[in-house]
């Protein structure tokens, strides 16, 4: 299967505010710190991690909404980091984003028709108002929303969170993009609405042939819909592989911690047996030495403090970045 996206040693550093006037050396936040992976056509690639792990920044790097500090992004074998403005604009027709917040990702002053049709206008596809409306209606149908005049005239305030997210999906489909980065698309929705929108996205994948990068902090959701998963921690990928394999046989201690933390749906099942009440995601600017996870790792040994473990294939394309697992 062809590779649609390839990310090579991608890095993004943000300058941190100087904590004191006297510190000479500039401090940086290592939001994304050397990430490499590939996404194949037609697959749903999950990026899982807690807040601060860099997944949001990664999403924006992939779509070049933010310039990388170093590293490259290849879309269909083309280096997108070297494209000029108009070339990049043309490319955006093929790669789109679904945003997390249904309440701020739609312009409150526009009606649904204008919101969904905006990509058509930006790219000057069809000047004729009726063709624009038709295309918008097609997109709305794909996401199971009404196509009536009265619905097209509504404003975001009049829709529920789930409906707004569907509008966000319609907006992405209207240009016929086949590669979609979904940044926590359902985390702000209620449980049953979540399920509905997620099912919709998966259904569309089958129907139209989409490739997704699905970013989430919920590993259980990733298991349900992703083919492969990358687990991120403090800017790096710590585990990468087939979704089923990772869930059934998590290698990296952080992945195991994430799995432990998910409340099981059966009250009988034990929850969080190894989770200690102490220890949290550090607010570090400069990451810890050696393996970034070692301060929280119950299995850490001396080498974890000094040497950073590389991401290594342990067999069957299941990779982990750990000295021992």
């Amino acid at each position: 299967m062809e590779t649609v996206l390839r990310v090579a040693d991608l890095r993004k550093l943000f300058p941190a505010k100087r904590s004191s006037l006297f510190k000479r050396k500039r401090q940086f936040i290592h939001a994304v710190d050397g990430v490499t992976f590939e996404v194949k056509k037609g697959e749903t690639f999950g990026v899982v991690g807690e807040s601060g792990c860099g997944k949001t920044t990664l999403a924006r790097l992939i779509l070049r909404l933010v310039e990388p500090t170093s590293g490259k992004v290849f879309f269909k074998d083309q280096d997108i980091t070297s494209l000029n403005r108009s070339e990049m604009k043309r490319l955006r027709r093929q790669m789109q984003m679904i945003f997390q917040d249904p309440y701020s990702s739609l312009d409150p002053r526009k009606n649904i028709l204008n919101i969904v049709a905006e990509p058509l206008r930006v790219h000057n596809i069809a000047k004729d108002g009726s063709i624009i409306k038709e295309k918008a209606q097609e997109a709305l149908e794909l996401v199971d929303l009404p196509t009536s005049e009265s619905f097209l005239a509504k404003v975001p305030d009049e829709l529920s969170g789930g409906e707004r997210q569907r509008v966000g999906v319609a907006r992405v489909l209207v240009l016929g993009a086949e590669f979609i980065v979904a940044d926590e698309p359902v985390s702000m929705l209620d449980a049953n609405v979540k399920a509905g929108v997620t099912s919709l996205m998966m259904g569309l994948k089958q129907k139209i042939g989409l490739t997704y990068i699905f970013i989430t902090h919920e590993i259980s959701l990733a298991y349900y819909i992703c083919d492969r998963i990358a687990v991120m921690y403090l800017g790096k990928i710590v585990e990468l592989g087939n979704a089923e394999e990772i869930i059934n046989l998590p290698l990296h201690p952080y992945t195991r911690l994430l799995m432990e933390a998910v409340p099981p749906l059966h009250p009988d099942d034990k929850w969080g047996a190894t989770i200690s009440e102490r220890g949290e995601l550090p607010l570090f600017i400069e990451p810890p030495s050696g393996c970034r996870f070692h301060p929280r790792c119950s299995q850490a040994r001396d080498i974890c403090n000094t040497e950073e473990p590389p991401l290594v294939d342990r067999g069957d394309e299941h990779c982990s970045a750990c000295h021992f697992f």
């Binding site: 449980a191 049953n192 979540k194 099942d269 989770i275």
Partner: protein
């Protein structure tokens, strides 16, 4: 032994477009030392129940109902007396009152304020107590000198729990206490809450849209929909054999790592308009098993199995 009883509570909000029947006939009780969960979608009224108990409703009022704490009726009590109940006997940990933490005061000061407004403690004493409370929620007591923005989300949440426990209340109401937290932090915070609750034998009313966490931290659960209770029972029984179609649909919306199948079914449609709710059973427009009687008459709560109550004709075998 009931500590808190809520009888036929009706709380409406008054808007220009009409009255929103946010809570419309809710009855339940919480036993001493018990942890009761209230689950439902946003807008189902669960937060309104909490605010009604605490008499913090704005833009509306409790139009009917009785709430008693250990036999003492709360709703008609003069507000001056009720203020002593608030925080001393019932306290609230709320996400929405994330203004529960004032950004311009240190954590320690805020806990101290809670203590000194209600008791005659001196500041020094109160500060010591604040540090002790932080220790109990697994936060380093020296952090009492920090401001809220200097703490992580999980620590802030734990500080709010410490504040809620400051006066040794008999009942703690927690409204979506972990919604904004990461999954690992959430697990930690809930572990602490459950631990403290058991240790001090405090009643806990835990409100959340996330059934999975309720399943792990509560003894009993209430499922609410559109201002009414649709199912109520022991956590084990409800999860193993949910009765109400809504409960079943809700459970199916949660991804379960342990299950074999990898499909998620949602519930189509959206929650009803509470100004003009549907006739009969409020769930009928979305119910996959709707019958004629459901549209006509509202079902009453019936004990189908000991201590397991459901409001649904389907379950009660009505024709």
């Amino acid at each position: 032994m009931s500590l808190l009883t809520v009888e036929n509570l009706r709380t409406y909000y008054f808007t220009e477009k009409g009255s929103v029947k946010a809570v419309d006939g809710v009855s339940f009780s919480v036993d001493k030392g018990e942890s009761l969960g209230i689950a439902g979608e946003s807008g189902c009224g669960k937060s309104t129940v909490a605010l009604s108990i605490m008499r913090l409703i704005k833009g509306g009022k409790v139009v009917q109902g009785n709430i008693t704490l250990d036999g003492t009726p709360l709703l008609n009590m003069p507000i001056r007396d009720f203020r002593r109940i608030r925080w001393e006997r019932i306290s609230l940990v709320s996400q929405a009152a994330m203004g529960g933490l004032n950004p311009v005061y240190r954590i320690g000061d805020q806990i101290v304020e809670a203590i000194t407004t209600h008791t005659k403690s001196k500041k020094r004493e109160a500060w010591d107590r604040a540090e002790e409370l932080l220790r109990q929620v697994e936060v380093d007591p020296s952090r009492a000198r920090n401001y809220p923005h200097e703490l992580s989300g999980g620590m802030r949440q734990r500080a709010m729990i410490a504040m809620a426990l400051a006066l040794n209340p008999e009942l703690v109401i927690a409204d979506e206490p972990t919604t904004a937290l990461d999954v690992v932090t959430q697990a930690q915070v809930l572990k602490i809450m459950r631990g403290l609750q058991r240790e001090r034998n405090v009643c806990m009313l835990l409100i959340s849209h996330d059934l999975s966490i309720l399943g792990q931290t509560c003894d009993r659960i209430i499922i609410m929909y559109a201002g009414k209770i649709v199912e109520m029972g022991d956590v084990q029984a409800l999860f193993r054999e949910p009765q109400h179609p809504y409960t079943k649909a809700l459970l199916n919306s949660f991804p379960d790592i342990k299950s074999e199948s990898r499909t998620l079914t949602g519930l189509p449609g959206r929650p009803p308009d509470l100004i003009d709710p549907p006739s009969g059973c409020r769930f009928h427009p979305r119910c996959p098993q709707v019958q004629d009687i459901c549209k006509a008459k509202e079902p009453t709560m019936i004990e189908v199995v000991p201590k397991h109550y459901v409001a649904c004709y389907q379950v009660q075998g009505a024709s």
